[in-house]
Each structure stands twice: as C-alpha cells, then as structure tokens.
Amino acid sequence: MRVAVARWARRFSADERGAIFLIVGTFLILLLFVGMASDFGIVLRHRRAMQNACDSAVLAGAQDLRSTARTATTTAQIYAQRDLTENNIVWDANNFSSQTQDKNGNASGINPVRLSASYQATVPLFFLAYATSAVTVKVQCAAQRVPVLTTGMRPIGLDSAVFTARWTAQGSAACAIFGASGNPNAVGSLPCGDCVMTFLNGQGASSAQCDAAAPGSGNTGALDLHNNPVCGTSNGASNWECVFESGTGTNPAYCATTSTSTNSANWPACATVNPKTGNFDGPFKTAVQAVCQTPDPVSNPQASEWVVIMPLINSTIWEGGISGNKPVPIIGFAAFELDCAYMNAHHSYDPIYGTFVQILDYQGVTGNPNGNDTGVETIILVQ
C-alpha cells in the first residue's frame, strides 16, 4: 500500500500535464478572495454609515420625547434621512422604524425616556453577484434620557447656565411639595389638591400616585408665591395659571419671615413662606393644561419642554392634623418636567404626568433618596 502511494506521488510530480490548469485554478481562487474582501468592505462601509445615521437620529429624536411642538419619532426620521443622504446611502422611509419606550424598553405612551430605531438597506454586491446579487443590512440603535449626578451642585444658580436659562426662559411655576407621611425615604411629594406623592429623581411620576395619608383640603393650598408684576402681588392659587406661565418673578418677596441664614445668592433669604388655604386641585390642573397647550413655551425651537420649579417644604409641619395654614420654610427645590406630549395626546390633565428631572438640596435636606447629589438629565446612546 505504502509502495503504491509512493509510486503515485512520483508519477504525479513528474507529470507536467495540466500545470496551466492548476495555475489558473489557483488564480481564480485568489480572485474569489479579492472579490470577497472587496464586497465585504462595501457591506461594512454601508453598515457603519447606517449605524452612524441611526445614532444621530435617535440622539436628535430623544430631545423631543417631551416636546409639544414635535414628535420624537418624526424628528429621528428627519435626521436619519439627512445623515444617510449626506453619506450617499439610499434613503427609503419604509425601511426606517422608530418607537418611544419606557426605561425598561417597553412601548409606552407615558413618560417615555427611550427612543429606539432601526434601518435596513439592501447593499448591492459586485464580485459576488453570481452567488447572490445583494445582501440586506440592518442596524438598530436607541437613545435614552438618563439623570447625571453632579456632586456639590449649589441649589439655585448652580454652576449651570442651562438651568438658569430654563428658570427664566421657560418660566418657573410654583407648586408646594409636601412630605409623604410614613415614608422615611421621601423628602417631599407633589400635592395637587389633597394629593401627596413621593418622588425619585429621574423617575416618571403622576399625580395619580397619591398617598392615602395626604393632608386634607383646607389646609394644604399652594404656597403664596407671587410678586411677579405680570400677575399682581398676591397670586397664590387664585391666579395660578398666570404664575405658571409668567413665573414667580426673579426676586420674589413673599417671605413670611425673613432670615439671613440661607446660602443661595439667587434665592432671597426667606425663613418661611405663607401657604394659601384651600384645595388648589382645580387651578393647578387648569394651569398645567394651559401650559401644555402652549405649542412653543418661549418661542424658542431649542426648548420645547415645560419644566416646573417646585419648592420643597418640610413635611413634618403638615402632619398631625394641623388646623389653619402655617408658614413653612422652603428647604429645597425640584424641577418637574411635564409630560405634555402624552397629556395633550389624550386631552387629559388629570392626573398630571411628568418626571422629576432635578432635585436640589437647599438647606441641608436629609432623607434625599439620591443623597446629596442633584441631577440633571442628558441623552446617551444605549444598547
């Protein structure tokens, strides 16, 4: 057997017939590899450009998740088209899809924080056209709004020009925040009428999440924040809509008792603020509705979300069945971003939906669920 193989090998090596065939064969195989490399490069190039366009699209669209002026998915499509066209990739709206999601990735209409998108395109092949004329490439991407923790941020004035701009440009509104009784982790809650709600920074919240232990109406009206010339000198709940849209003024002087113990340059030294008696459920909702139905808050296309600045007060003052109103100290602020897009779409402002985008420690508030850090939101790409 071994002899036979050796003989065959000897004969084969001596035989020069078919040498050209071998060379041509090798050459064709080499050509095949060249073709594969080239086509693979083209596919890679398409996929990279499409991924870039997809990322750009969701980053742009995610800014409109709370917008009343634009829809996030529409914005994403516009940016996907723009980027693909600029990179000479064929755009087809039928191959683009996007949807808004909650933080767990489920399709949601309330408090959407994530925008995901996908695009697919047929990439033509050249060398491998004999095997298959084209391959379909699909890319997916998602962008999400996430809270950014910034240690040591000062309460008002901060180090952030963005926040100041929102305070003045988008209008600030006041809504008293009361502590939820029986919940040691909560600094405050959002009362709209006699509703008490706990909050966590960066989480969606609605006024439907009421605490059963909420103070009753009559004692828990709005804080008497006023001194905006537009709305007069005594607004409280009686002219809530105006306060909402015009803000409380840059230098509110509604202190019940003044003090110099506060530590913010942008907030007047104010030891306590008078509350208004009564249930301000109605005025608050009317105000939210009026705000949300304003298509463009400040005639500035850059900013189309409404952020409500809410003072935080010490919850213990309201517990224990107090009668009549009582001046309260403001111990911090929270920025509550209204989910106008959802409420407008359903023509309902009861309950009020939104997200606490920033919670500001002010006078050494304890029990803040996020410690001493305060957060602002940013948009990042996620898997």
Binding site: G41, R45, N52, L59, P301
Partner: protein, 168 residues
C-alpha cells in the same frame, strides 16, 4: 523546443504582475476602508462635541456654549484631529463643499468643514462636520465605488460627514 524545464517559471513570471495587482488591490482597498472608518469616526466625534459642548453664538439662534475664550471652529477641528489619531488631519484650510461633495483645496491634503444650519422641518439647529482626507496609495488605482474619486494620481480621497442636532 522540446525542453520543458523552466516552463513554470516563465508562467509564474507572466502571471506575477496580475497576482501582485490583485494583492495590492486588496491591500489598498483595506487601507482606504480603514482610513474611511477613522475619518468618519472623527467627523462624528467632532459633530457630537459641537452638538453637546461647543455651539458658537448667532448660529441658528443659539447663544454660545463653548468655554470662554475658546474659538468654536478650532475647538471642534481639534476634536476631529484628536479622534483621527493615526491620520494627521490638517485643519488650517476649510473644505470646499458643494451639496454632498467635499473638495480638498489644492494647497493641502486634508481639511475640515463645519456648518451650522437651521433644520427647515423641525426648526432646530443642526451642526454638520465634514472631514476630507487624501490617502496616499502605493499603486495608481482608479476610482473605487463608494470610496471617492481620484484627485490626482497616487491619491484617493475619503470623506466623512456627520450631522447632529444641537442639544440646547
């Protein structure tokens, strides 16, 4: 004429140029793709930086957000330069842009173009960063699909374009 010794050597010599062309074609195509990826990534990082951190004033109605005393254009170009890493992107001269085609001025071999526009549909500001770079080819190859066209012999131009919405 009956001698067959050296026949395969002659065949190899005849075929060698073709084989070499094929090998170098793959080599050059890979280099171009690699450069294109780097340039595209640089353009994207530049646009992201511009969208998030450094918007010059009076463009699309936005107030300046760059650090004080910082020239927005050079800051963005610097970001592009840093991201491109192995490729030295020249930022002294701005690219000539016409539609989607980017041309490198004759005096340089690479360029960056930054443009701020207002999106007609959504009314928001958009930054577009375009980076063009001439990859020196080792062989005189012609126009390749998708990679660009020959500027002059020995070079292939790769272009990266990225648009981002300003985050304000």
């Amino acid at each position: 004429m009956k001698q067959q010794r050296g026949q395969s050597t002659v065949e190899l010599v005849l075929l060698m140029p073709l084989i070499l062309v094929l090998v170098f074609l793959v080599f050059e195509a890979s280099r171009l793709l690699g450069s294109w990826l780097l340039i595209t990534n640089a353009a994207r990082e530049g646009a992201r930086y511009a969208a998030v951190q450094c918007v010059p004033s009076n463009s699309a109605g936005v107030t300046q957000t760059c650090s004080t005393g910082q020239d927005p254009t050079s800051a963005i170009a610097q970001q592009v330069q840093q991201t491109a890493q192995f490729l030295t992107v020249q930022t002294a001269t701005t690219c000539t842009v016409s539609g989607n085609s980017v041309t490198i001025p004759s005096s340089v071999t690479s360029c960056v173009a930054i443009a701020y526009t207002q999106d007609a549909t959504t009314g928001v500001g958009v930054v577009t960063v375009r980076v063009a770079y001439q990859v020196q080819t080792l062989m005189p190859i012609g126009s390749l699909p998708f990679f660009g066209t020959v500027n002059y012999p020995g070079y292939q131009q790769v272009t990266g374009t990225s648009s981002m919405r300003l985050e304000q």
